[in-house]
Amino acid sequence: MPNDNKQKPILIVNQSAPYGNANAKESLDLALASSAFEQALSILFTGDGIYQLLPKQSPDDIQSKNLLQMLKALPIYGVEQLYVDQQSLTERGITELDTQLPIVLVNSVEISRLYHDAQTVFRF
């Protein structure tokens, strides 16, 4: 039954590396738009999506906007925590993510819970 008053939490899953395609940017655009409507929103970075969180990105010379810089605005837009798949980090040999991001590492049980708690899942 539709219930307009109920908050339906959204989960956005980022599984694409930045810059190679538009997924990271267009995912962020949706996250910012959701926050304008004060929707409950969680964001999960998994697979190649964790490359979006690497420090020291400077895409000026490929004429791209800095996605990492934009991700840092998420807390101001009401997204207080960014969930990051611990296993994806390990598999990719990544030991260091940008320290200014509000990152929470999650295991596969917690990831499964994020999916099940969401009303709608958008994957990019």
């Binding site: 599984q15 998994t46 596969s108 499964s112 099940h116 969401a118 899942v121």
Partner: protein, 97 residues
């Protein structure tokens, strides 16, 4: 109960792994587009989504187009009306692509 849709062939292993991580025993899967090639596989591995899902369905039009028939007894052939019905019966639909 979640309904998962999958539109990529088994060669996209990362996608299958992600789905396997999320799927639970009472969930269902609809194979569409190149996803229907999964119907050629038998997989009773309890860590793989094919071995976990309560029911796996495949869109008949997409099977037929690719020269596949539903020989796999574990996979039920459906049409788009069934797709709509399953979408309304489950709690939510997650697309894997």
């Amino acid at each position: 109960m979640i309904l998962h849709t999958l539109n990529k062939s088994p060669s996209n292993e990362a996608l299958s792994e992600q789905l396997s991580q999320v799927i639970q025993a009472d969930d269902q899967v609809i194979l569409l587009e190149d996803g229907v090639y999964h119907s050629l596989l038998e997989n009773n591995d309890t860590s793989h989504w094919l071995g976990i899902a309560a029911h796996v369905h495949a869109l008949n039009d997409d099977l037929k187009a690719r020269g596949l028939t539903s020989n796999n007894s574990a996979i039920k052939t459906i049409d788009y009306a069934d797709f709509v019905r399953l979408s309304s019966e489950c709690d939510k639909v997650i697309a894997w692509y």
